[in-house]
Symmetry: C2
Subunit: 197 residues, 2 copies
């Protein structure tokens, strides 16, 4: 009478372990899908916010002291600064990849191990690209806000306040997007670590 009971116990133990593994793998999958969705949404909104950011202001120039100053319309937009272009292009690339990989992960119930590895490496590349682009845009943003007296680069955010505020919002979104990619890599490393034990 004892043997079947102990067998049952063992089987129950195996069953609960299998259940736990399936639950863990489900949690990993949901976290991955959520992070991909987040990365997609953040980089998409950032690209739109930066892409449509434009402000025109009337700026006065004094050509000759005896004549009244000239009022000229001056426009600020992302096309005028290479670091802003870099941010927008990086946002678009990361957004496109995040969108495709998100849709793929949603459609497939279980990913091939090799494909998972390739996706982790692309996530890592996107993370590097976005960190580099946000760093570049932030450096120009700081100059635009404060200027730099040593090289006589004057601040411009006192004139183009709305442009700067909108750009800062886009920059923060892009930075959050790069952290979403960082978390995707961390999640993949944790999962591989758990499976390798």
């Amino acid at each position: 009478m004892d043997k079947p009971e102990s067998n049952n116990n063992i089987m129950n133990g195996v069953g609960s372990n299998v259940k736990k593994v399936i639950e863990n793998s489900k949690t990993e999958r949901y976290s991955d899908i959520m992070l991909r969705a987040l990365a997609f949404i953040l980089t998409f909104i950032s690209a739109v916010v930066v892409g449509v950011d434009k402000e025109t202001q009337m700026v006065s120039f004094t050509l000759v002291k005896t004549l009244p100053p000239l009022h000229v319309p001056v426009t600020a937009k992302w096309q005028y600064m290479s670091a802003f272009m870099y941010l927008l292009v990086s946002d678009v690339i990361a957004c496109a990849y995040a969108g495709v990989s998100w849709a793929y992960c949603m459609a497939k119930p279980k990913l091939n191990n090799r494909l998972e590895l390739v996706m982790t490496l692309v996530d890592l590349t996107m993370m590097g690209l976005l960190f580099s682009a946000t760093g570049a845009a932030m450096a120009i943003g700081v100059l635009g806000m404060n200027g730099n007296s040593h090289v006589q680069w004057h601040k411009v955010c006192n004139v183009f306040g709305d442009f700067c505020r909108q750009f800062a919002a886009g920059l923060v979104l892009s930075l959050l997007g790069s952290f979403a990619f960082l978390l995707l890599v961390v999640l993949a490393v944790f999962n591989l670590y758990k499976r390798s034990r």
Copy 2:
């Protein structure tokens, strides 16, 4: 007579597999140590090159048109630009971590699995930090070389040529250092993937 022979064959097969695993793990270890050494050397030289970069030039200013121009000594150094400070601080942090982790990996023949995981996560953080800092410094470098007519920020590398060249060298070294950290993460992901199969 057949049985011991087949057992021997099996044992030989197991032996060759074990040998392969040990060889693979040795190659992984050497690659990891080499990449850590590379990251340390690159970020160290970059920090020194950027840290000692300084140039003074006599720049002429015209205060009143009827008087001859004033010649004033103007100095360029990393302390004058926040993006350059960010690069130097990031280089120093990454260099210190790469040095410590390199020495530790050299001293220990086999790392604890959990410590390996923690090191991979710190490598990833260092990679993000360096990519962000090199992006920021590169954005300012491009401005220094070309200027930007839209915001009236004039180029400065025509005056401080030596400073710019030395800084560009430091920046390239730091960028290579960030790629060394990227490769460290790629290597760790590959190793975990191989072990998880």
